[in-house]
Symmetry: C2
Subunit: 191 residues, 2 copies
């Protein structure tokens, strides 16, 4: 998506060969006008699908998912990072390995908000190793719900997550796919 | 605000005398139609104010703040809960005591996203002891920015936060103010 690629080129900051900071518009400061446009693009890409829930993971996916849920006219649910080791109550759980923070954490989702009737569109800001997305897919499977697809803002296509998730048969729509990047040459997008 | 009070009566779950669960529409599953209406109400309440930034704290404030930022046509910034003790880089920091989770955590905000020129509207889902709001106000003060006001969805008016923050001279607009609640008698709203 040209709008997003241009914004990444303009305001994204590349560090080394695998860190892309988009703090100024996507996941710390948030440009809601841009996010609405991204949401409309996913609405177009998944226009023939019935979607009953948008699912994301706290915290940086929430803003994007809000606007997507509004476009599709359905609720948004976000998986929470568990605060304690003692997970109580009726929740689905999954473990997610964070490469950024170098640790494994549990995510939880209350069972009352995802059921076998649900047709779920997953939304997240980044797809790199696919760890967060795998965790969300596990929650959907545990609920017996159907995954319609995954809408990703920025895919680091040089990392294995995108291929892994597509090989599972999931319809992934990434709005900007990065083939490679480094501080000297900048960012090369796919397509 | 009648719409919110009705929704709390319908879908809120009171536990004991101080816990109100609104997981089904406000902070786990999110009704984006409702949130847009709340955002429009704050737009009306702060209509004479110039606002350059909406500020909230992850994770449950983000969804609300998204729609408010869209109404005001300005960016949203959210303070992040620090992942490590070693806070690096150019950030403002504050300590927030979580009564829910029984611990003190650090919140951080990148200095590049809040400056002395900013006129800030703070948005959060709950106001009870005022700890999170105090932390956000400290970030605004540290930046030399101006706090225009605070928009709160649900104020537990029987807890001290609301009075404390108003006594500091902050213009607080809570859309539902709870005078008291318990499992037997339900919820009594102010006004």
């Amino acid at each position: 998506m040209q709008l997003l690629e241009e914004r990444i080129r303009k305001d994204g900051i590349v560090k080394g060969e695998d860190i892309l900071k988009v703090d100024s518009f996507l996941n710390h400061q948030i440009d809601t006008v841009l996010l609405e446009e991204l949401a409309r693009e996913w609405k177009r890409l998944f226009k023939n699908e019935e979607i009953t829930k948008v699912l994301t993971i706290e915290a940086s996916g929430i803003a994007l998912a809000c606007f997507v849920a509004k476009e599709f006219g359905c609720p948004l649910v976000f998986a929470k990072k568990a605060q304690t080791r003692n997970i109580a109550g009726d929740v689905y759980t999954a473990k997610v390995e964070s490469f950024t923070h170098g640790r494994i954490y549990d995510v939880i989702l209350s069972k009352q908000f995802l059921s076998s009737d649900d047709k779920v569109l997953v939304i997240d800001d980044f797809l790199a190793n696919g760890a967060a997305l795998l965790g969300l897919i596990k929650l959907i499977h545990d609920a017996g719900a159907t995954i319609v697809g995954a809408g990703i803002a920025i895919e680091k296509a040089f990392q294995p997550g995108g291929k892994m998730i597509r090989d599972m048969g999931v319809h992934v729509e990434s709005l900007a796919r990065i083939a490679s990047m480094n501080e000297t040459d900048g960012i090369v997008f796919i397509d």
